[in-house]
Subunit: 196 residues, 2 copies
Amino acid sequence: METVHDILDEGILAHVAFADDGMPIVLPMIYARIEDQLYIHGAKATRLFKKLKVGLPVCINVTIVDGLVVGRSAFHHSMNYRSVNIHGTARLVEDEQEKYNALVAITDHLAPGRWEETREMTKKEAAATTVIAVTIETAAAKHRAGMPVDDEEDYDLDHWAGIVPITTAYGQPIDDARLKDGIQVAPSIRTLTSRK
Amino acid sequence: METVHDILDEGILAHVAFADDGMPIVLPMIYARIEDQLYIHGAKATRLFKKLKVGLPVCINVTIVDGLVVGRSAFHHSMNYRSVNIHGTARLVEDEQEKYNALVAITDHLAPGRWEETREMTKKEAAATTVIAVTIETAAAKHRAGMPVDDEEDYDLDHWAGIVPITTAYGQPIDDARLKDGIQVAPSIRTLTSRK
């Protein structure tokens, strides 16, 4: 379970899939994990959250791309990646404390420590937000790492082979055009950028 | 449709969802587009491709993350992104020429021009590979760009706000440990890296 948690904590986007009258739907969403719960959130009024809150079965995938695997043959090209697939049932979070904790976690998942730096959440904002939880019951982590595995006889060929590392890079923060004079980039955001 | 094609051509991973006896499944896959067809491939023997080839309805999402949107309130945090959602029906590609073209396109989608640099595909490799096509009939592109949109009264607060650009960065290629002496990094891979 540690690998599953590590991948979920490092990932940025979750792809959340469910069936709507038998038709598959998949959407990218930000998310956060607290212990064995995965949380997603959205505007109360959206069609998606009206559907999910009735307790639909969902499948959630989080994938981190680590590199391009370049073989001597096209057949042995691949990606290096770490991926988690979760099956579970969507549950509407009704407990106020759990909902609050989930919203903190989702904000801090974007940039650790960010919640504490922001203007306090209003009751109106909380009421306008739906939080859905999925218990991580069955989770499968898959990964690929390392060099291509070519056909033995292909190692004598003159084609280049190897890997190209792929990373998600955070660039320099850009101030909002309406930022008040003298406001420095927040610590959580500086930390994010220096992680690069 | 141009925006849809641009996003599909720039993306790296597609998340492919389908319903298996009513239960949603979503998996990350490499892919390529040729005109209005989206192609994915896999080993003939895998459970996934045995299911898809019978013509299941699928939903495919490709998302490119462009940045973190940092508001003065947690509520107005968001992501900048470009995303395409496609609904269609999986079709087994049986025509040999279409299958060949799709495999070329998938390899060149990883690194443009790579197919020509690799050892020729064997009949055995082609036979072991299943290619699935999905016609891009209904495709919806969504995106968010630019600065946070905070509550009007929050612009007077002393919280930092702005965006943090996020990019997918290709690192320096790493030679396969068994690469023959004197083989230089292939042109397609050099191009990929200099794109960073």
